[in-house]
Symmetry: C2
Subunit: 193 residues, 2 copies
DNA sequence: TATCGTTGCCAACAAGCGTTGACCAACAAC
DNA sequence: GTTGTTGGTCAACGCTTGTTGGCAACGATA
């Protein structure tokens, strides 16, 4: 997820290591933290449970390694202030559709301390800078970013986690059409109160 | 939660029973389904774990008894179509602020099959009828209700479960001011397509 | 060929889980 | 007072969990 140079000299066990990570992501996404047991993950990856411990230390270490995520949000500098809403929503739906790591993170964040902490970090490091650039008064950025995240994560929750049928049935374009104005307003509309 | 007439003749163990339910709600809300162990719930209520089994059969039964919830949504018939958004948001914030059952349900729904099923039931039985009355074309009610729930549950997620600091910091009136127009639009604005 | 670190499998551990059944104390009916 | 029902305690069960250490096979180096 974040190794550009071959600082690590290509171990013979790399195949096993990535197999474990893939299985872990799948199980965390489907079951959450507690029910995704190391034994189940190992069986899913066709390896021995003890290998997980050798390569990732313990279950927390495995989780940390499995769900390191870069939202790849557009560069705040190059973001047009007028269609920031549409851009953000489109990008989010894309990410969620193809990347099960996000579902894993949301499921775990709901019941696990470390998972929630990780989500707060992503919020602060990745979404907040965008809001800081897109909204008029930087001092309002945290509140506006929180509103944006409530709508985006709420959609993810009802669509990918709780699976409300009408939410699952929405076409990506419909989602963008409905949510883009909301996000746009949260970012740029004058503060009510 | 739903006994109007004294069909049950007031057992001597009622105090214990409700103490268990209260402790269960608290633990489910704080820890989710798996980590809220029967032993922890029992200790919290100062009773023996075996009493939980005697009175509620098993852990699933306890959960079902602990999180039966009535959203007490306003009667769809008496709902003014013009400020349905504000009414709904105000009502939701009120409920979430005072009732930890909702947090318990959301936490459990994220990782537990039965919990998610319960949330889908509440959505279909309680929110959908309101949408059916408030939106122009009844055929669009499911999609519109899904959008409304995505925003409302998203706020609950970031505020009460993940506890994003800026989301926690929002005053109830701010929440209403920002979210009411969103919900109103999801209910009554012409379908974009 | 001998050596040594790496990779993998296996069996086991202690702890915690949901759940059960035997047993005692308090009360109600007769 | 005796009897039967109810409320509550205690100890244990079978099972799963995360985690550990020993041991055999492999691959490169010498």
């Amino acid at each position: 997820m974040m190794q550009g140079k071959p600082s690590t000299p290509a171990r013979r066990s790399d195949a096993t290591r990535t197999a474990i990570l893939e299985a872990a992501r799948e199980r965390f996404a489907a079951d959450g933290y507690e029910r995704a047991t190391i034994r189940a993950i190992a069986k899913h990856a066709n390896i021995d449970p003890s290998m997980v411990m050798r390569y990732y230390g313990n279950k927390e270490g495995l989780f940390a390694a499995a769900v390191s995520i870069d939202l790849k949000l557009p560069d705040p500098a190059s973001l047009s202030r007028d269609d920031a809403g549409r851009t953000l929503v489109t990008h989010f739906v894309d990410m969620w559709e193809k990347n099960e790591v996000l579902t894993a993170l949301l499921r775990v964040g709901a019941t696990n301390q470390a998972g929630a902490e990780r989500m707060r970090g992503i919020f602060a490091d990745q979404l907040l800078p965008v809001a800081r650039r897109a909204c008029p008064d930087p001092e309002q950025a945290p509140a506006r970013a929180a509103l944006v995240s409530s709508q985006l994560l709420g959609l993810a929750l009802t669509r990918y986690v709780l699976r409300f049928p009408p939410s699952v049935a929405l076409a990506p374009e419909e989602i963008v059409a409905w949510l883009a104005p909301t996000v746009q307003r949260y970012l740029t509309a004058p503060y009510p109160a």
